[in-house]
């Protein structure tokens, strides 16, 4: 709702070309990998062996990017990959944004309701599975594999949207403790959901930054030489009409730089669907694919 208000005042933005701008983080220049073994689709999208999406909570772009005192690792990550400088959440509060990224729709949610059940509605996980790929959600603090309760300690189901769909096997909803150390054994695509203390929902920016570095930096390094991607994004900003969020994409065949095309969760979803040739679900159908951040 608040995003609409903002757009209403600002008038519609013309989607910018892929021009790297700004001085805060990266140099703004694109680097091009000199060699690549990555399979590319016709539209030159890579087909990553693995994608890990880490969801952070409730902070705006400017809360994080440039905030090197509280978020040094996140800013370092941003300088290692593609920093999307014009990335927006869909709405407020949290849950509809998670559903939007995972299934292309907010499903009419205007709260963090629990439980939500969307049955066999197609979503990113079900489309991957149907196409022969693999999927998992790793939620820190999930009491047990397939747990369906709303909350337990610092775990909250509202941040783990796959549980809301019956076409995702319960065995694919795992505690983060099951996240492998042999990254080659990761599913094709997985989400990592830090708990409420570690995703800057309840904890501080600095705590979330440390958690991300401690738990994901090895994968981030590995991904850059193993045809894989790490996407770190935020469900929403903290309350503004703007709802501008940081979105960082790191990995092999990502051309380092800042990219200012207007995107939201649906563009991220559409891009992943296009990579694997999946049927676009919900509002990701028709959303433009992010095609300019890849070196080729």
């Amino acid at each position: 709702m608040r995003l609409s208000s903002r757009i209403g005042m600002a008038v519609t933005v013309a989607a910018a070309a892929a021009v790297a701008v700004g001085t805060l983080v990266a140099t703004g220049t694109h680097t091009h990998a000199t060699e690549s073994h990555v399979r590319l689709t016709a539209s030159t999208l890579p087909v990553p062996s693995h994608i890990v999406i880490v969801m952070e909570e409730n902070h705006s772009y400017s809360d994080i990017i440039g905030n090197t005192s509280q978020a040094p690792y996140m800013n370092q990550l941003a300088s290692q990959g593609a920093l999307m400088t014009d990335s927006y959440a869909i709405t407020h509060p949290s849950e509809p944004n998670y559903m939007a990224l995972f299934a292309g729709d907010t499903f009419g949610l205007s709260s963090d309701a629990c439980p939500v059940s969307e049955g066999t509605t197609a979503n990113l996980g079900s489309e991957l599975l149907a196409a022969g790929y693999t999927f998992a959600g790793y939620s820190e603090g999930l009491p047990s594999t397939g747990y369906t309760g709303c909350t337990k300690g610092e775990y909250a189901r509202k941040h783990s949207p796959w549980i809301n769909f019956s076409n995702i096997p319960t065995a694919d909803s795992l505690p983060f403790s099951a996240f492998p150390t042999n990254y080659a054994s990761l599913p094709t695509l997985s989400f990592v959901i830090p708990n409420l203390d570690d995703d800057m929902h309840d904890g501080t920016i600095a705590e979330a930054d440390t958690w991300l570095e401690n738990n994901m930096s090895a994968y981030a390094t590995w991904a850059q030489s193993n045809n894989s991607l790490l996407i770190v994004t935020w469900d929403e900003d903290d309350y503004t009409e703007g709802n501008q969020i940081p979105t960082i994409i790191v990995g092999q065949d990502v051309a380092v730089g800042q990219y200012s095309e207007l995107i939201n969760h649906y563009n991220i979803l559409a891009t992943i669907e296009a990579m694997y040739g999946l049927t676009a679900v919900g509002s990701s159908s028709g959303a433009s694919v992010i095609s300019d951040i890849w070196s080729s």
Binding site: R2, S5, A10, A14, A16, L24, K158, D202, Y239, E241
Partner: protein
Amino acid sequence: MRNLVTVACAVVTVAIGTGAALFVTSAAPAAGGTVPVSITASSCGASAGWHLTAGAVTFDVTSRAPGFTSVYLVSAAGDVLAELPSLGQGRAQPLSTALTGGRYTLRCVLTDATVRVSGPLQVAGTTGGTPVGYRPMPDLAITGAVRAYTAWVAAKLPGLLTACRRLDLDVARGDLAAARSDWLTAHLDYERLGAAYNAFGDFDSEIDGMAGGLPEGTATPGWTGFFAIEHALWGGQQASRVRPLTRELVSALVGLIADFPSEEIDPGDLPLRTHEILENALEFQLTGTADYGSGSTLATTYANTQGTAEILGTLAPLLRSLAPAVLSAAQRGLATLQAGLLAERAPDGHWTPVAELSTAVRERLDGTAGSLLETLSQIPGILTPRDGA
């Protein structure tokens, strides 16, 4: 959030004369002018600046910078006098205000958070009717207040549950006199938490939903919560008819306590609730609309002032640095309203039902509340994040 939008938009929609001359550096200064401002990724209007005379001015702002740019007209003291919260690439919008003599700048916060600053805007002469500026608050500055308020609410919920259990036990043993007394204690406990209702989700309507808007009003099956219990307790219902409602109340509280740690109090809610709680009190409590038989709406209003005082206290460190006069006026107004309400409470603790208030008292309470609301309604504008301004 509607208020925030209203505030932000109001700044840019001030009616201003048009068709006046264009002013650039070294041009003859005059009033009522229009100044073109072009924003790019590397500039925020003319680097050489402008010279104007005091009076109305409209900046015709066009953005060629990628994404959305926020534009702020800032005084030499650092106060934001006018703003365009976001301007899309390729779009133009007027930024209108009135300026008295002094030195100003335009600050453009680009979509990637880079800040570009214009050359100096020199204004000669004096004029009245200039806006009161906002001292800009960074987004993260309110984080501490939200955490503190969330912790306060979390700490209050167990006591509220205890009060609701006491009410339920009264009804269970058929002591409806005790139930009526304990109902008020529990209800007032809830009414002090007003800034958190949004974070309570569906629990709020289960716990404190009024009958207005329900298909069969007070006869609607499934109407639960404090007001339904009040309606039953003061409507002569037998204990056996009241008990399902008090059991459901306890159950909803248990559910809320389990759920609350995973909920978030929207940081934008705190500044809004400083006036919205009392706005509701003015509409529903001081009018008696929310009286379902107990005649306790003045007590509820007083609990609402306590809830407002809690938020104001939480936000006080921020307001003291950004707008100390508003904080002082709000605290004075709140104390006056509380004193006026307490004057209607008898020594035995019984509150005068609003229907029995004299016209003079009613007018005085309405006037005090209205004046306080005017002061409090400034707070959302003051505590709007303006990073980079």
